[in-house]
């Protein structure tokens, strides 16, 4: 009896049909989502109309009229907000790139130390990792920044490193390079050496595939890329003039300075992320079964070649995906720069420009869009790398 009552009701009948039901649910969901956005946007329109504001990006071309303490491209307070944003973006990219390099190096060292057969080395890495990753990264940034500002000596008593580097509470003074015309020869040698090394690597692989002969790829690449340009550099009589900083009065003249904000942010982000990378590296190496090493040894492969050809390629497959998310975290965490006044993209367009122009909506949209694009780019690069080293199955 009950079945006839189901069938007689067309709504219930539609509901019990899977296809129809999914359409109904989706239409309802769509309606709710659209209604929510309509409500929120309507609120925003009314609120902004009440305040007499509109949405316009023309403020980007007005003069920013504030100074930025670290600029890698031409910028002055007469430049536009757009220029300020580009300067900020470059500073963000700089700190992200520098941080990714240092955190990877330190992270791999930590991961290997965690697996060392020396008990002390193991425990040092363990204590470091546990302490660093259980403390917020913002605290690391403030701690290192505070240490440089308050605990390092003034320029007059700067810590002197071989009369070329000076560490003080205004940052690290270091020589700056002035490239002479002849330097192009060194650059050219480097480029030629690099292309030769890449070609030689392919050639050696082909040779090994066909004849089984192993060529000294690393030695020859090293000579082509590092030794040859250095030799040319000295043959031409060192075509770089170094401008070494020197103490004049209360501050240093000449050379260049790495500001405390950059040092603090760079060290804090890298050392914090390195602790996480260290654990990923350890997990990756441990994921390679010991049988692989034993099998390689049984085949007569030497220890170093086992590591390079058997263990590391397999470990990398496990390490790369979490490494990708660590790089993303580092890039996103670089936005904490604003806490110590490093002028990254959040501090310029999302900070001072926002406060000066009162265009919250536009500024925050720009900042979020920039970070979304950066995240996508890093993910794309890492996915490409991941695809290259992935296990190729059938």
């Amino acid at each position: 009896m009950s079945t006839t009552s189901y069938n007689s009701n067309p709504i219930l009948r539609a509901w019990y049909d899977k296809e129809t039901r999914s359409v109904i649910v989706q239409v309802i969901a769509m309606a709710i989502i659209l209604a929510f956005f309509a409500y929120v946007i309507n609120n925003a329109v009314i609120n902004m109309a009440n305040l007499g504001k509109d949405i316009s990006f023309s403020f980007l071309w007005q003069p920013a009229s504030y100074d930025i303490n670290q600029t890698l491209i031409e910028y002055s307070s007469r430049s536009s907000h757009f220029d300020a944003m580009i300067v900020g973006l470059i500073n963000t990219l700089l700190i992200a790139a520098a941080g990714i390099v240092l955190s990877t190096i330190v992270g791999f060292i930590l991961g290997v130390m965690r697996l060392s057969n020396n008990w002390l080395t193991q425990k040092i890495a363990y204590v470091y990792i546990e302490f660093v990753r259980n403390v917020p990264v913002l605290l690391h940034i403030l701690l290192i920044h505070g240490f440089i500002i308050y605990s390092l000596p003034r320029p007059k008593q700067a810590i002197n490193m071989g009369d070329t580097f000076f560490l003080n509470n205004r940052g690290l003074q270091m020589p700056s390079a002035d490239f002479q015309p002849l330097f192009w020869a060194v650059t050219a040698t480097f480029v030629i050496g690099l292309s030769f090394a890449i070609w030689y690597r392919r050639y050696a692989k082909k040779l090994q595939d066909t004849t089984g002969k192993i060529s000294p790829v690393w030695t020859i690449s090293f000579i082509a890329v590092i030794v040859a340009p250095l030799a040319i550099y000295f043959l031409l009589g060192s075509p770089i003039e170094w401008d070494v900083p020197a103490l004049k009065g209360f501050n240093f003249k000449g050379g260049m300075v790495i500001r405390p904000e950059f040092i603090a942010l760079w060290l804090a982000l890298s050392l914090y992320t390195a602790a996480f990378i260290g654990e990923n590296v350890r997990a990756g190496i441990m994921a390679v079964s010991h049988g692989q090493t034993e099998a390689a040894h049984a085949l007569g492969v030497s220890s170093s070649r086992t590591l390079r050809l058997v263990v590391i390629p397999q470990a990398l497959r496990v390490i790369i995906p979490p490494l990708n998310s660590q790089y993303l975290n580092l890039t996103k965490n670089s936005s904490l720069a604003i806490a110590i006044g490093y002028m990254d993209v959040v501090a310029t367009i999302g900070g001072i420009s926002l406060n000066q122009t009162g265009r919250e909506m536009e500024c925050m949209l720009i900042v979020m869009a920039i970070y979304l694009i950066l995240s996508l780019l890093i993910s794309a690069v890492m996915n490409w790398f991941n695809d290259r080293i992935r296990l190729v199955e059938r």
């Binding site: 989706q26 546990e130 913002l138 965490n333 959040v346 909506m361």
Partner: protein
């Protein structure tokens, strides 16, 4: 002379000499090879160089009591600010005569947490209901009203603020995260792509931009004429942020379940809601518990970011101390104190997650 033993009754012989004991341990772990020996000796030498001055700075030469910086006359650290500003670190600017309410909330919180986290709690069913009611009790106790003196949320600070933000974020983000994770796995394209879009957007931008949204432009999107205070707006954004990460953790748990589970449930005649409630989610959530605890640790650390939009959590109180005339420039001491505080809380949470991981890892113990 040899004694006769019946088969299987021979007592165990002691291990061969030189394979046990501290000397053997040293040989094995510190001096197993020439390189190893050199590394060990270098590390011991460095420790001998670094440790004594550090101990002097931290303890022997340090000053522990004092009114202000002038009391610190020795070369070592100046820990006197801890005693001076301890209440600030815990309560923020909560009025002194109302602080019993914070303490009471803290005690109630411990009981509620015990009910949720400790599986041998007596009368756990009833305690669970209490744990569900706790957020409302806590809100009433902390903000006042209905018989209690009202306290504005701008007075919240220190550890109180960290716990309010962290626990609210995690409690509300858990159900939201479950919904988003199910949405992302759904076969209905609109729901699926909406969930994916939301999760990836939140995970693609830094928390600090979301907090800026909370402090500068969220009020535009709220009904005209309404005014939400800053803490509430921050809580909204932090919850959305945490729910995106939570969704990914739970999705991991969902994907770890074999497809046969859902198929078996469907073949028994369970509909989608029943299958999720009785078959899929209990297993998926159990797998994701360590990940959920890790998300919570991350969120707990991330609450420090609120200092950038002007709320004062322990780190913010510390930063204010560094700028305070009485304790000007004591940055290393202040930040190290806050770091130790965060380390203790986060480290114990990560130990708990490890314990859970071991306890829940029952799959291979047959």
């Amino acid at each position: 002379m040899s004694q006769e033993y019946a088969p299987g009754t021979h007592p165990s012989l002691p291990p061969p000499r030189g394979t046990t004991g501290p000397i053997h341990w040293l040989k094995e772990n510190l001096f197993s090879s020439p390189t190893n020996t050199i590394v060990t000796l270098v590390i011991i030498y460095l420790f001998a160089q670094i440790l004594p001055p550090m101990v002097d700075w931290f303890f022997s030469d340090a000053t522990f009591v004092g009114e202000n910086r002038k009391a610190c006359t020795t070369d070592g650290a100046c820990w006197a600010f801890v005693g001076d500003r301890f209440n600030l670190f815990i309560y923020g600017f909560y009025p002194a005569e109302e602080r019993w309410r914070v303490n009471l909330t803290g005690i109630l919180l411990v009981i509620a947490l015990a009910a949720v986290l400790w599986d041998r709690m007596p009368a756990r069913k009833q305690m669970f209901i209490y744990a569900l009611a706790f957020p409302f009790i806590a809100t009433w106790l902390l903000t006042g009203g209905a018989g209690l003196e009202p306290v504005g949320t701008d007075k919240f600070g220190g550890l109180t603020l960290t716990l309010v933000v962290g626990i609210t974020g995690i409690v509300i983000s858990l159900p939201l995260g479950v919904l988003l994770a199910l949405g992302r796995q759904s076969s209905l394209p609109i729901i699926k792509y909406f969930s994916i879009g939301f999760i990836e957007f939140i995970r693609g931008v830094p928390l600090i931009t979301l907090l800026f949204v909370a402090s500068t432009m969220l009020s535009y999107f709220l009904p005209p004429g309404s005014s939400f205070d800053l803490l509430l707006r921050v809580l909204i954004m932090v919850t959305l942020f945490a729910s995106a990460y939570m969704a990914e953790v739970i999705r991991g748990g969902l994907q770890a379940l074999p497809k046969g589970q859902l198929e078996a449930a469907e073949s028994l005649g369970l509909n989608y809601a029943q299958a999720m409630r009785f078959i899929i989610l209990p297993q998926a959530l159990k797998i994701s518990i360590p990940g959920i605890v890790n998300t919570f640790i991350g969120l707990y650390k991330d609450t420090t970011l609120v200092i950038i939009i002007g709320l004062l959590d322990p780190l913010g109180i510390g930063r204010a101390s560094v700028a305070h005339p009485d304790w000007l420039g004591l940055s290393s001491e202040v930040y190290m104190f806050v770091a130790v505080f965060f380390f203790i809380s986060c480290f114990s949470m990560s130990r708990y997650s490890l314990y859970l991981e071991n306890k829940l890892h029952t799959g291979h113990n047959r």
